[in-house]
């Protein structure tokens, strides 16, 4: 840590960390939000994220175009989401348990297919420098943001708007709120949820592309540190509102950034416990927001059955 910044180095490092660490959280939570709005939970977003990271890196390396990699990640996420969606549209298949299977499958496939990608260097996504006004190298480094970040922010706003004001958004919400009403209107619950899970997988996988094509910007087996796992918790925290997903992503990114920032500043005695901070935070949030007697505020009604 630089001497010139003194103790300001820690908050600056946290801010930089948030800008680098939040986008994957944002994308997985937006994807999960879409799926859950339709009344189903996909616990396999971790597999989707890792698979997305691997395919984005691979395609970017082979084609030289990182944007093609992002697209490929989305397509792979779409496929994984549709597998989950198809299985869960069968009666008596538990969506939460199936999510765990998808997590293993996604991770296994990604580790297997990504064996050859650990060494080569793939073309990375471009970034925008917001710290041009400063001469402090730390500030310049901290304020670099990736183009996918504004894309994610825009997506959150679009999703919020779509859920509120468009026909498609209403149909998805209806499927999540009341199966009976949805059927009465003549919509197929299974089709809606299938599409919501598949598109949710598409969005979540873009978060994976951010991991491998920007930060940390390489491919290895430990690329995801559980961002996909926490998607479900983020959406609970965001109360199923895409705009709130932004805040949730910032808080979780911040929780992740505090450990390394403190370590860089010289506090390194509880590194491992610091790494567990996001998980503990999630637990605390769940304990605070849950209740035995009343339904979750803002939760899609059909979700209650599978979440409690």
């Amino acid at each position: 840590m630089s001497q010139s910044l003194g103790y300001w180095g820690v908050p600056l490092a946290v801010l930089g960390g948030i800008l680098r660490l939040s986008p994957p959280f944002l994308f997985v939570s937006l994807g999960e939000c879409l799926t859950e709005k339709s009344g189903r939970i996909n616990l396999g977003q971790e597999g989707t994220l890792v698979m997305g990271a691997m395919s984005a890196y691979g395609i970017s390396y082979l084609s030289g175009s990182p944007w093609l990699g992002v697209l490929a990640a989305g397509a792979v996420g779409f496929i994984l989401g549709s597998i989950h969606g198809w299985f869960c549209s069968r009666p008596r298949v538990n969506d939460i348990a199936l999510g765990i299977a998808m997590m293993f499958l996604g991770e296994g496939l990604a580790f297997y297919l990504g064996r050859g990608l650990i060494q080569p260097q793939a073309a990375q996504l471009a970034s925008v420098n917001l710290g041009w006004w400063s001469h402090q190298p730390e500030i310049v480094a901290a304020l670099k943001i990736n183009i996918l970040l504004p894309v994610g922010l825009a997506l959150a706003v679009i999703m919020w708007w779509a859920f509120r004001y468009t026909r498609w958004g209403m149909i998805v919400r209806l499927a999540g709120e009341s199966t009976d009403a949805s059927r009465a209107m003549g919509y197929s619950i299974n089709t809606i949820r299938f599409l919501a899970t598949a598109i949710g997988g598409f969005i979540a996988a873009i978060g994976g592309a951010f991991l491998s094509l920007y930060y940390p910007g390489s491919w290895n087996d430990n690329i995801s540190s559980g961002q996909g796992l926490m998607a479900v918790a983020l959406v609970i925290f965001a109360r199923w509102n895409p705009i709130n997903c932004i805040y949730a992503a910032v808080i979780f990114g911040g929780a992740k950034a505090i450990g390394p920032a403190l370590q860089a500043a010289g506090y390194s005695s509880y590194t491992y416990l610091m790494n567990a901070a996001p998980y503990v935070l999630t637990m605390v949030i769940m304990i605070i927001t849950c209740s035995r007697t009343r339904a979750w505020v803002g939760a899609p009604a059909e979700l209650g059955a599978s979440l409690r």
């Binding site: 538990n94 998808m102 499958l105 296994g108 297997y112 491992y272 790494n275 979440l307």
Partner: protein
């Protein structure tokens, strides 16, 4: 009498006698058939995957079979791998009888192993049997409490136990790493941070002159005990009632919350015991070698066994075979461990998907006398 397709081709006296009398045999036949079909489907999809990767699928399957059940040596490897799965399987299966999907076996396993290894030092120089008992008590207690926490959160605060146990696995591993490198660290273990050794004379030995340790027998014994608990005790019956119909259970005076907490504790204690056995029979000390996914594989075991403690025994041996088979898959065909992870994921997917087939085939339905 309704005549269905199944009855037309299976309409001979013995089958009918069985179908009229015994729901148990029919249920057994149904789960065997459906699980077998799911197994076959995952083997087929895995073969296609392997073939795309330009490896002969028959060769791969044969290597896996050889590594798992081909020789007496591979049987021994399989059984060693199966012995923790017997107990981590119970960690998911027992709470599931009360309707909770607990996937926190990994956390209970590593923490149980860690605290068991540490507990051995509280009784220095004690007779081996005492050391084992203290270790087992520590492992069971830590594992049991670890799973009881999410169960209590579920019962009293409505926190979804699947998500909380998943998160707690990561917290457990963080605590594990922190303690192994900090408070419980043996300064002599530089390359591979570990706790102190439990002592060579305190190791659980092998059965006869095989390389399979006695932990296997302990695991099987616990499975049998769990089967008795589930099927032949009042507590087990209350658990099934609480899992099947909580309202009816409450009306008949069962204290559901207490039953749920007990089953969660017992499940966690099993996983903790598995960790203790892994330390006392294989590892000699707690280190990163504990954290290799036995807890997660236990979830698969429980689902494949359909939460029946006795069915866990063959399923754990089968899954132990998959884990043993991947060694030969790697050395003979160069397929990395992640290939076995793919197979495990496919198997899990199809086992869970096959859940939808239960009750669909009329030949497995008990005949109603008219």
């Amino acid at each position: 009498m309704r005549i269905s397709q199944g009855q037309l081709w299976l309409n001979f006296p013995m089958v009918n006698a069985v179908r009229a009398r015994s729901g148990f045999l029919l249920r057994l036949a149904e789960s065997l058939t459906i699980t077998g079909a799911a197994l076959l489907a995952s083997v087929m999809v895995f073969s296609i995957f392997v073939a795309i990767m330009k490896v002969n699928p028959l060769q791969a399957l044969y290597a896996m079979y050889l590594g798992a059940f081909g020789t007496s040596f591979s049987w021994q490897v399989t059984l060693v791998k199966a012995s923790p799965l017997l107990l981590t399987g119970l960690c998911t299966a027992l709470p599931m009888r009360t309707g909770l999907i607990v996937i926190g076996g990994e956390g209970a396993f590593v923490l149980g192993g860690l605290f068991a290894a540490e507990a051995a030092h509280f009784v220095p120089g004690a007779p081996t049997i005492i050391v084992w008992l203290v270790m087992a008590a520590a492992g069971c207690l830590v594992g049991g409490i670890w799973i009881m926490i999410p169960a209590a959160l579920r019962v009293y605060r409505g926190v979804n136990e699947t998500i909380s146990t998943l998160l707690m696995n990561y917290i457990a591993i963080a605590i594990f790493n922190q303690l192994v490198e900090g408070l419980f660290h043996d300064p002599n273990s530089l390359n591979n941070p570990s706790t102190y050794s439990i002592g060579d004379n305190n190791m659980i030995g092998d059965i006869g002159n095989s390389q399979v340790h006695w932990g296997l027998i302990v695991g099987m014994g616990v499975c049998v005990l769990a089967w008795i608990l589930v099927h032949h005790t009042t507590l087990g019956f209350s658990a099934d009632l609480a899992g099947g119909n909580p309202k009816a259970a409450r009306l008949s005076g069962i204290r559901i919350n207490r039953v749920i907490l007990w089953f969660a504790f017992l499940g966690g204690a099993c996983a903790g015991l598995a960790g203790m056995i892994q330390v006392a029979a294989v590892q000699e000390r707690a280190n990163d070698g504990l954290n290799v996914g036995y807890g997660y594989a236990g979830i698969l075991v429980a689902f494949m066994a359909r939460q029946d403690p006795l069915a866990i025994i063959p399923v754990a041996v089968l899954l132990g075979g998959v884990h043993a088979g991947k060694i030969l898959l790697a050395t003979q065909l160069g397929l990395p461990n992640s290939a076995a992870l793919v197979f495990q994921g496919l198997l899990f997917l199809f086992i869970l998907g096959a859940e939808t087939l239960y009750g669909r085939f009329s030949i497995f339905q008990p005949q109603v006398r008219t």
